[in-house]
Amino acid sequence: MKQNNLKTLLRELRTPPVSGAWVSKTKLFLRSKSRADVTDLSIKRTQRYKLFNLLYLPNMNGKFNSMVSIISILATLTVGGGTVYASDSAVPGDFLFSVDKSTEAVQRFFTTSPLSEAKFELKVLDERIAELDQLSIANDVVSLTKAITEVETQTGVIQEQLKLMDQLRIEDKLQTQEQQQLMEQLRIRVQEQTATMQQTQTKLQSGGDMVNSDNLKQIQNKYSDSIDSQIKDFEDSTGVKIENQESQQNQGEDTQIQNQNQLQNQGEESGGTQDGSGSGQQGGTTTPQQSGKK
């Protein structure tokens, strides 16, 4: 007999099947035995045991194994947290820049509403512009180009987010007031952002990098025009006027100053009469005394 034939025969060997009655009986037996000695507490204890024994370390007792596992988890969290923190100050071209972007992606995932998402994207653009400004001093052409691309991409993201908000408003999924609030903030932020971009352009020009300076200028103009256009569209479609909060604040400050001046003037006028009468009275009383003394 050949070995292969023998192997085939061995595979074909059958045993009598287990009876259904035995299966049911055994299931009942095991169920009663297992439920008799298990409580919720012991289940929790076992689960906790499994949780703190993530690392299997042979020849080591349970308590020591748990301790090592906890220390490992804490070390991982500390190192991981430190990396994420360090990545926050990374600029395009840095090793940790991808970690920074991943962290942003996680934060983006946890934004709850279109409004908060738009605010978050504005914050990211601030960061990208700050990174670009930082790189403009270093004169690293490759990283600068990457940073400019990052800024351009982010401006595109913001524009898309605004379009999405428009769409949601049209579908009655977003309130006009919410979008209005964002638009008002946006107007100020865009002014700040374009101002920073202009500063960066000046730095690039002084460093002799005219190409990147021109590119940035184009991106800045495009972004600024696009936001203006989107704000105008919003105003036209809703009839709500987006005031520049800065000018509103200035106007408010002016009004306050005017009011204060008016009050001061009034006070001076009224105080003047009081003082005048007082002084007059005093003068009236003193002068004669003085004159009498004299």
Binding site: L6, L9, L10, R11, L13, T15, P17, L30, S34
Partner: protein, 172 residues
């Protein structure tokens, strides 16, 4: 889906559903082909698995290997503690295996009887690898020997079984 833990009574029930047939077959062949003994021992294996559940470590071995290790110990304990009982049960329950209605089944019956003539270790390797279909890697973990040693022993056991079959054939 293969269960990787044994914490709650439901886990035990799931394990039983998944593995009882395999373990029953293994125990049936290891314990003199006696149906009731195999059934009792299968039940004991799962009960012992439940009692020792906190000792199970998924990173050390699979649930299947762990259950086979318990079953193997059960067989050893059984033969060690009840020699008398073993003597009584050594007569196999032939009627339960197959009806020798054709040549193929006669051949299968002969193979099974020749497997019984092997030493316990050889018999175990033949059952685990060829009849149960376990990989040498898993068998090496169950038996606590190296992978190479397992492969060599399986090969030797098969050669011996082949010789026994040929002797039988020549005698006829």
């Amino acid at each position: 889906m293969i269960l990787r833990r044994l914490v709650s009574p439901n886990d035990l029930e799931q394990l039983f559903t998944e593995f009882h047939e395999k373990l029953y077959k293994y125990l049936y062949l290891r314990c003199g082909r006696h149906r009731e003994t195999a059934e009792d021992m299968t039940q004991q294996v799962f009960y012992k698995a439940w009692k020792k559940r906190e000792q199970y470590c998924p990173s050390k071995s699979s649930v299947q290997n762990w259950l086979y290790a318990i079953a193997r110990n059960e067989v050893v304990d059984y033969y060690r503690s009840s020699e008398k009982k073993f003597q009584q049960l050594s007569e196999p329950d032939e009627s339960a295996i197959c009806t020798e209605s054709n040549e193929r089944e006669v051949l299968l019956s002969q193979v099974l009887s020749r497997v019984e003539l092997l030493s316990p270790d050889e018999k175990e390797l033949i059952i685990l690898h060829y009849i149960q279909g376990l990989a040498p890697r898993d068998i090496s973990r169950i038996l606590g020997i190296t992978y190479i040693a397992t492969k060599v022993r399986i090969h030797r056991a098969l050669s011996k079984l082949k010789q026994l079959m040929e002797v039988n054939h020549e005698a006829k």
